[in-house]
Structure formats: C-alpha cells, structure tokens
Symmetry: C3
C-alpha cells in the first residue's frame, strides 16, 4: 500500500498521520529545470518523504520533459539534467524513479505535460538520456540501491503552526513556509544532512541540532520535550513566535515565550512589525549588504541569555534581535526577527560548528552538493553532484574508494573534476 504525495509538506494534508497506514511512502517531486535546476526541490521532498517512516521511498512521478497545464512554462531539461535528476532522487533515498507520462498526449489538460516520448511518439532527446541512465543503473544499481542515510540535523515541521500563522499573518510575503524553506535552503546549500521531525516524534535525541521554524502553535507537552532536548545537550535554533499559542491556537496568558522562558533565557511583552528592513548594529555576523532583518521584531528582554545582535534603530535598539542561552548541557539560539539568507546561513553554520557537525562538505564549490549514505554491503557511498553548466573541481575528503561510473580508484585528498550537470559517485573500500 502506498500513496503518491504531491509537493509535500503540504499543510492541507497530514502526511505524517497518513504514512502510518502505508507500507512505503511515494512522492512526486516536480522541480525547476534549465537554469533553475539545483536539486533542492527534489532533495527537500526526498528528505521529507524519507523522514515519514524512516525508510527509503518511491518516486512515482517526476519531470520527464516539460510540464504545465498550458504552454507558458515549458522548460525542457538541458542536456544532462534528466540523468542528474535521477541521481538526485537516489542520493536522497529513493528506491525507484518513475515518470509521468510515457508519451506526450494529444488532447486535454495535460497536453503540455510531456512524456519521455514527444507528441510524435518517436524516440527523441529525453528518451535517449533516460535510456543511457537506465543502462547505467542496470550496472551500478546493486551498489547504490537502498541507501541508508543518517542525518545530524532535524527540522521540526508543524502544520498547525503554518495555519495558526496564516490566520494571523505577520507579513504579506513571509510566512511559516518561507521561513521553513529558508532554513532548509541554508542547510541544503551547506551540505548538512537533514531529516524532518514532527510534534509527535519521539526521537529528538537522535539529532545533534534541531532547527525550529516559527512554532506558533504548540502544546505545553511539546514545549516541555524541546526544553528537555536542550537540557540534555541538544542544540536548538528557534524562530520568533515560537510558543506564542497553545495547541488550540489560543494565545498563552503568561509572559512570552511561556514555558520556553527558562530554556530561552529571555522574556517579552511586546512585538512590532518592521516597516523597512533594519541593519544589525555593527554588522556582528559580517553579512555586509545582507546585514538586514525585516518584518517582525520581538521586544526581547534577556534574563540569562546572551544577546547576539541588536537592531540599529533609535527605539528598537535596546532590544536584542537574536539571543543564545546555555541551558543544561545544550543551547538555545533564538531569532526574534526575520533574517536575510546570509544572516540565517551565519547563524546555522555557527550552531553546526558548536554542535560538532561541521566538516569538509562546507568547503565544496557552491554548485556542488554532497550526499552520503551506507549501501546494502555496509559501505559508505558519497555523491558529488554538479548543478551548473561549468566544470567544478575539489579535493575528495573521504576514505579511498572506487568511482562507480568509471570504476576508477580514488584516494583520499585526490583532486576530482565533475563535468557540467554530471556527478561523481564513490563507494568507499
């Protein structure tokens, strides 16, 4: 029994509950192509799908050629992208890649949702690339199928918080989803392995770092578990509005952030939108032009927390924009405002460093993504995928092994070159 989730996480659907009734999770990751192809969409949906049952999953639909319910967004993949997409799915834990459709259809809504064969039913460019990839997989499949991923970072996903914020939006352009996606984006670009966790998860302690988008709706019990996670040594990064309402979307009648106050090390009674983005005073995170926060500012007063940055503003200047509190054996880093992508990157990389989970993957070229897992034979497998039209080079940082496409031996620290829209795939010895 399976179900093909479309574009998860989708707040209208509780994939977490539905998955409890499934034998295996399936997902249909459709994504940008041409210059917009960067593997992020497929990895986001893949990481989420893999986290639902802590197992591998199926890709039941994905881009064959162009997609669309009209002909306004027809973007056939550049040469190499259809193949790189297959390996993107496999590296995220997919055990199958299936297309919608086999051939393009000639009438109706999905006329321009094209298949592996075009409207003329003849083999063409997409067919040739799929065929080449399929023959490769017949050869190397046994060494990469059923990849087991282990992630140091968990992202807490709360669809209730999405809805609570939607009912009382804090911005016309930002919302729960944009902050969630920003946090994921930063982790993805940093090559940090990520799982998703849920309010009813019982495995928070599996993660060195838990990242919490605005947890606007949360029961006392959930907040208490998060506090315990920190007390017991976890490192948590938490966004504004967390803890504001209980599980019934009712504002807590305690000084904020309610039950999180001791772990967070601050309190607040007031908050403000920001009409214009504000800089942080003195650019403490060295973000340059991106030294700016926006939309929302909680007027925090620290109890035991250390302020990490202050607003550069006559009135708001007395309130810290971000804090960090050491609590028990762990730490809680809090963002009282909306950070620029660069500031979010600085904050999250700093916490990864403190949690001891930073490493050589953070030094790869910007367009190269690393993914790692263990195959059926218990050997480490390393993917290096190049999402760009330019060749990329780097020093291979892991144990000696074999590049599976070429069957060439690879030594640690060996210089590797990966072609445009291509990958290197190494099995350690």
């Amino acid at each position: 029994m399976t179900q093909d989730f479309a574009g998860p996480p989708r707040p209208e659907v509780n994939e977490n509950d539905i998955s409890k009734s499934l034998d295996i999770v399936a997902v249909n990751p459709y994504h940008g192509t041409q210059d917009e192809f960067d593997g992020e969409g497929s990895s986001y949906e893949g990481d989420y799908s893999r986290s639902l049952k802590h197992t591998n999953y199926l890709v039941t639909e994905t881009n064959a050629d162009t997609i669309g319910w009209d002909s306004k967004n027809q973007y056939p993949p550049y040469d190499g992208q259809l193949r790189l997409d297959v390996y993107t799915h496999l590296s995220s834990g997919a055990n199958m890649v299936e297309y919608w459709h086999w051939h393009s259809i000639h009438y109706g809504q999905e006329t321009y949702w094209k298949g592996i064969l075009g409207h003329d039913l003849e083999p063409g460019r997409p067919y040739q690339e799929m065929s080449k990839t399929a023959h490769e997989l017949r050869r190397i499949g046994p060494q990469i199928a059923d990849l087991k991923r282990t992630s140091p970072v968990g992202i807490l996903y709360s669809s209730d918080s999405y809805w609570g914020i939607e009912f009382m939006k804090f911005s016309d352009h930002d919302n729960y989803r944009t902050i969630l996606k920003q946090m994921y984006h930063v982790l993805y670009k940093s090559n940090a392995g990520v799982d998703f966790v849920f309010p009813d998860s019982t495995n928070f302690s599996d993660y060195k770092v838990i990242v919490v988008p605005p947890l606007y709706v949360a029961s006392d019990a959930l907040l208490s578990e998060l506090v315990d996670y920190v007390r017991n040594g976890g490192h948590m990064v938490m966004a504004f509005k967390s803890g504001f309402t209980n599980e019934f979307d009712t504002v807590r009648w305690t000084t904020m952030p309610g039950p999180l106050r001791e772990a967070a090390g601050f309190h607040y009674q007031e908050f403000s939108n920001l009409r214009q983005p504000l800089p942080l005073k003195g650019d403490p995170l060295h973000a340059g032009d991106e030294n700016k926060v926006s939309d929302w500012a909680e007027m925090l007063t620290v109890d035991t927390a250390e302020p990490l940055a202050f607003y550069d503003h006559a009135f708001f200047g007395k309130y810290p924009a971000m804090t960090r509190n050491s609590f028990g054996k762990g730490s809680l880093t809090y963002e009282g405002t909306v950070l620029s992508d660069t500031l979010q990157t600085k904050v999250l990389l700093d916490v990864l460093q403190r949690a001891g989970v930073a490493g050589p993957d953070q030094s790869l070229p910007p367009s190269v993504r690393a993914k790692h897992g263990t195959n059926r034979n218990g050997k480490m497998v390393h993917y290096f995928l190049n999402y760009s039209s330019e060749e990329q080079s780097f020093s291979y940082p892991y144990g000696a092994g074999t590049e599976l496409m070429t069957q060439a031996a690879v030594a640690q620290s060996q210089k590797m070159t990966v072609k445009p829209w291509d990958l290197i795939l190494i099995e350690e010895r």
Copy 2:
C-alpha cells in the same frame, strides 16, 4: 445618547444627519504610530466630530497598543507617543479619551488588537505611559477641559459629490476623498484652524475662507449660497468639477460651471484627462520639482477672472489651469486640475494671506503643530505638539502665561524647546 463614529467622514454614513439625534458626538480615531504618527488623523476626525454639533466630543476608542485583524501591521507606539496622542485629542476638542481594550484578548479576530495590558495581563510599557498621563490630567485637567475652538477656515464636505464622482471616476488613484484630504493636509501642516461645513449649513459667513473639494453634486440653492458667500466678502478656493451636476447627479445643460459662472468669471465646454503630469508654464508659484498638475484639465475660457497659471503644453497651453475672480467683496480661486501638494500649499497659503488669517503659526518648525482654544475660565490655551524624534525650538508668539506641565512662567517671544514626542501647553494670564 451618543454613537461612536468610526473613521469619519465616511461617505456610506451621513454623520451630519445622525448627529442631529445625538446628545454628544463620539468618535474612534485610530491612526498611524511610530514614524507615521503626526497627529493628522486624530485632528482630522476631531475637527470633523467637533463640527457636527459645534461642540466638544468624546473619544470612545483609540490605539492602546498595536491594532490589526492579523499581525501584519503591529506598530506599538514609540515612548511618548501614547501620551502625546491624548493631548492631540484634547487639543482638538475631545472631552474624554477611552481605550479599546483594557487588556489584550487571547482568541478570535481581535487577538492582535491589543489593550493597555498585554496578553500576560501584567502592567507593561503602555500601562505605565497611560498611568503617567492620567495622573497629569488629574492635576491640569480643569484648566484644559471643554476647550472652545474658533476656526477661520471651513471645508465644505459633500458626500453626494463623493458618490457622484465615484460613479464616474476621473482617475484610478485620485477621487473626491484624496482631494479633500490633500486640502485638509495642507491646512493642518500650516496650522490653520479648520472646521467642516455641510451643504445644509447656514453658517458659511462665520468663516474667512471656505475651501471646496470637487463639488460635483450640488443643488442650485447651494451654489447660490456659495455665490452669495463670495459676493458678501468671503474668500473661496474651489476645485474642478464643482457645479457639474445638480442634486440628482444629472449634468447641467448649461455651459459650465453653470450657476457659478459669474462668480467664477470663466466658462468651459470641454475637459480632458492628462495622460502624464504637466508642468505649469514658467513655474509661476515657484514649486520647483513639484511644479506639476495631473489627471484632469478643464479647458477654461476666462470671462472676468484672472488666469493664475497655464499648462506648459502645445494644445492645452491656451487654457488656464487656475484662475481667480474678484466678485462682489470677495474672491473665488478656482483649480481646474489636480495640483501637487506643493502647489496646493502655495495656493491655500496665498488665500489665507489675502483673507488676513495668516500669522506666526505658519513659521513654526515643520514637525510642530499649534492648536488654540479658550478654557472654562475664558483664558486662551496654546498647545505646541512635537511629532518627531528630535527636539524642536521656536519663539513663543502669544501672550505671557504659564506652562501647565511645569508651572513655569512664559513670556511673549521667549524661546521654547519641546522634547521628542512631547508638548508644551501654555495658559495665557
């Protein structure tokens, strides 16, 4: 018997008629805060409310802390603004200031329409400031309550004209309300005391100057009273489209401006929208970058009026954009087009000067507003309110008196300094 008007004047509501059944008028002036707090919104609604029954009025609701039906526009007042707002209302003629709510609520549509107490029900920053102000008023209230205001300028408000123009809009961004608000804005920034008058008012002759936003819908009787006002020595500033239709919104079948023709001293048969703003030829009002008119151009031919400015344009250049006609003992200044704020300021200040109602209030610093009235003891009371984050200084131009907050004696021409978001309040001896 009272009724709390929300955001008057509101064309869907005939506050003028309703007020005839009330004992006292009440109003709920909600307004911008933080950098948008300038007292104008509260003064506009206050001047209007005071004019309905020619009496003082009640403020039944106003901003306690943040307001909004979501959390997108939460702007808690800067320190000092909540107090300055109270004195803004009192200086406009309010005899009470009441808040909505006492405490912030925890569920439902007005969750973020916050009260004097926050969600935690504890005294906080807004409570402290309200408390300070209330203690002040216990002390100085008797000297400022029941302030009697006398205004040299009347603005004619016609909700029928609002609707007539809405049915046949002349612009996507300008309308009756924007022109009305522009005229009020200029008078407010110039510290000219303003009342509102209505089509059925019988006290036009109380005013040195009457300002008329586009009086698109008007009976012959009303036009005749306005003509009499000018004939008898009044100075009138009138916007385009005035007199175009009768009280049934039917276009007059006479050459325009119909019954106003003799007093206005011009006629016209045609009019045009303006695709782009046009400059006035030779910048006759010295408006610099703001020497531009827009949206509408009546193709005026003067009979006895003096043209004040011409369009700088090959075709429209032969038609005056503004005229002034001496008629009887008074004058009618006519604007055949939409003026920039600077041009409107120049026109209105010039008419104030001609009407002999200009004075030292027009020389105050830009962020300082002056309001005047007579208290119960028949003494003049002068407010100087500083709507800015910077200290302001000026020479006090009125009779010697006592500053009520400090009880210090003040001499005429004494240099006064008013702190950010603060006020000086002087009772003459």
Copy 3:
C-alpha cells in the same frame, strides 16, 4: 441589411460568417486620440471590414468628442484630429462616417461618451471641425467616394487559432492577437496595403505575400492550400506554433510542423519557453538594441531550409530562430520565436522586397501614411496623412495630378508639405 461590428476582429464573433448574410458591412472604429492618434486602429478595422465582403463599408459610430463609461479616459481630439479621422476612414474604404452621439447626454452610463455637441447643446470646437469637414466633402466627395483598394499583402486570420492558444497560453502578455497586431502594425507603418484572408478564403493567389500569425488550429486541407500557395510562387511569412493542432485543437501525432514540413524545410520535436529575452547571435538583421526574441523557442532542425538566425545561448544556440525555405516557385519564411518589433519589421520588409512589392511608400516620413485606390472614374487617388503635431515634407512619387483640397496641380517628384494632423489628397490625371 447591415450590422455594426464593434472592434473587429473579435474572436467571440465570427464576422466572416455573419457578413455572408449582410448587404453591406458596418463597423464602429473607436480609437486613441491626442498623442495616441495614428490612424492605425481605424485602418486595422477598416481593412478587416473591407475584406469581409471585398467591398466598401460604413462607419456607423466613431469618436465624436471624448469617449468612456466614466471620466478617467476623456481625451478630446487635438485640433485637426476629428477631420483627419474622417479621411482615415474614407482612405480605408468607408463610404460613410456617422457619429455616436449627436449631442452629449446628461445622465446614465454614457454621460461621458460625448457627442458632436457638448452637454450645453451649443456648437463648440468639435461641431466646428465636423462642419468644416462636411462642407469639404460636399465639394470633393464625388472624386473620392467608393474608393477601390487593391492590396498586395494578405493576413490570414484564424479565430480558432486564437482560442486554441488561449486554452494553452504560451505567455502572460503575448498571444495570437498580439502577434497578429504586431504583424499588422509593421505592415501599416511600412505603408504596405493589406487585406485580411480567412481559412475558407479561395483567393490566396490574389496576394504576392501572405502573412500568417500563429496558425495553431488548422485542418489538413487548409495547410495543403497554403503549401500550394507557396509551391505556385507565393511568399509566405509564418509564425511559430503553426500546424501544431488539427481543426479539433488536437495535437498532430506527426513530427512537427506536420503537413507543412516539406514546404517549411525543417522539423522539430521539442520547444521551450524563454525565461528572459535572448539576442540573436551576431545581430544578423542589424536590429541593435532591439536584437531580441522572447517567450517561445521551437527547437528546429533544418531539412532543406536556410537558417536566418540563431539564438545566442549555450543550449539553444544549436537551433535556428528563423528559417527560409525555397519551395516550388515561392518561399516560406518561418519565425520559431517571438520577434521584437524591429526584427519583425526587418523580416517583413525583406519579404516584401523579395516579392517585388516594395516601393517609394517605404521611404515616407515615419508619421506619414500613404493609402491608394481607384475612384469611380477609374483614376488613381493618393492619400498622404500626417499623424503628428509637426509639419512633414516628402517628394510626391506618383503620376501628375490635382491636389483635391486646394485644386493645385501636382507634378511627379514635386516636394509636398503636409501640415500637422492634416492630409494631402491627390487625384491622378
């Protein structure tokens, strides 16, 4: 029996079928005035109306003074424009010009849809100009009425293709109509005489050049007639997507462009939208800043056609953007993408040249339009209409004759001067 078509061609209305039941076609060409008056709208609707029954037609309504269902777009004609508009209609083949309304009305939806008389019912500027023109026509009418036009260029109009593309739009801003209008615009500005032809027309061979906007919906029979037209010596310019679906809007299951393949000399299986406009490599048509194509790119592979230009892009660079194929005695020029106006002008003028229908009309000043026809006496009549506020001069390139307004004799190559918003009208001897 007649019917006043409003704004044809209008895809909701099959004017071509309706006209078969009419004695004479009537049309209501409303158009831009003031700086937007260029005669194009009236000529477009006039050329279309004349083509419906291959006869002259009636103008049953057109701009008297301003038009509009509100007062947002009131643009009375500049002096001379009302008269020039009459001659624009007559030069397109109108046999009558009638106004809506006689006098402006005082109430209701068309209050601002003004007539020859204004709201005051008195003669004014528009009346004076109409009266002058009417007296002129009483004099010269017999020499210009019933003008017979002969056009070297046909534009194929397919309302089915409009709808097929609307159902599966390729762009948010471009569609069948914008490409059709661009092609007409280029021909109009080039003073090429244009008729419209239809899918059921049997007179394709009357035209030296047939221009085909995206013929997305077409039966095999129609495509076969177009192929025959080229084979027999016609010169065709055809836009992208032509031949893609059959008469039931079903995509053909052959390699594209289906039955057009041999005449077109290329085939394609894939196509892409363009996220950003692309330049053509090396600016082969010397279009400068306008060397750009957009929105759509068919990935053409030439069989026998000559590529005219390639995309300047890493991936798309291998596909030609435009091709030309010599086929039988004619040629098919194909545009696989959306051209800038300048590129479209270069392509169409080049084809006019090749078809031998270019001439001195392509060298007139940019604001002067030439129209030609034969009057009842079999004599050639030449209109030169100046759509600008500046005087224009040119050398008269046709046979000696008489200027009808002035009755002055005119020799071939004589230098002529035409005043702003005025015309010269010559009957050959």
